[in-house]
Amino acid sequence: MIPAFNENDAIGDVVIELRRLYRNIIVVDDRSSDDTGATAFRAGATVLRHPINLGQGAALQTGIRYALSRGAEYIVTFDADGQHRADDIRVLIETQVKTGADVVLGSRFLGHAKDIPWLRRMVLRLAVLFTRLGSGVKLTDAHNGLRLLSRGAAERIRIRQNRMAHASEIIDQISALRLTAAEAPVTIVYTDYSLRKGQRLGNAVNILADLFIARLKK
């Protein structure tokens, strides 16, 4: 399941690569202003389109709801910008089968992160530390879009962080709902495109603000 916003340049190849290996590909088009949705559909994905732009977290929750309604037993979340490898899904599944975990999270630090800029590496390490302090869940990579949810976990996790704080929120919920989590080594390919389209480091501040407000609301 792929949340996508203005990914017309990459989404076609991403869906085609996934379709080689898996049948059910869902793209949630978060009200892109380009042809992301149409391109994904032509490439073979089922496409849901938000009528307004809501954010990646909201798109993930929409995709999860749809996949559950279609009877999915496992849901894999996958980034639209081509930074993940379709082959790594097999590693997630193998890890799930081996450990029986409710959620398997991809880790670039267990696997390979090709050409990761040093500043990004530092921010990601800080995010891991922050997540560990906040949720108590020990991970090596807190903000990886490649993850596998069992049906049971997908039914219980409810993403309310519409924007980018959803990654931390998912880990918080894993802890709060007493779900079991495992990590699997995956490869992140940093290209000029994925770096341009990916999160800006300044977003770390927005994420912290979103999480702080969410704590206030509890």
Partner: protein
């Protein structure tokens, strides 16, 4: 003084608004009413306000009111912010339902 009449008039309207809100939220109604009545007291008896200001360690009555107003403004802003977030949640749910109603299904889905 003219300014006292104007301020008390405004605070009376605020008190009326607070009373009208009673059916929606008793807490909000009580808070608005209390602030309005206190405000009228401070406007009508500025020397008492100065005495109170000295008692709590502030130089002038006007400063005390300014500080109180600042605190109230922050609380109101946060309340509004949380309400906007709640509205956003409703909009999200609505948008999600619309998206789920009309999927473009691939072959094999």
């Amino acid at each position: 003084m003219i300014i006292q009449v104007i301020l008390i008039g405004g605070l009376l309207l605020s008190l009326l608004y607070g009373i009208i809100q009673r059916q929606k939220s008793r807490l909000l109604s009580n808070a608005i009413s209390l602030v309005s009545v206190l405000g009228m007291f401070f406007v009508a008896f500025p020397e008492r306000t100065t005495e109170l200001a000295h008692f709590v360690g502030v130089g002038r009555g006007a400063d005390l009111i300014l500080y109180c107003w600042l605190v109230i403004s922050i609380i109101v802003s946060m309340h509004l912010h949380l309400q906007i977030l709640q509205l956003h949640e409703f909009i999200t749910e609505l948008a999600r339902e619309l998206a789920l109603l009309a999927p473009r299904r691939s072959h094999g889905d």
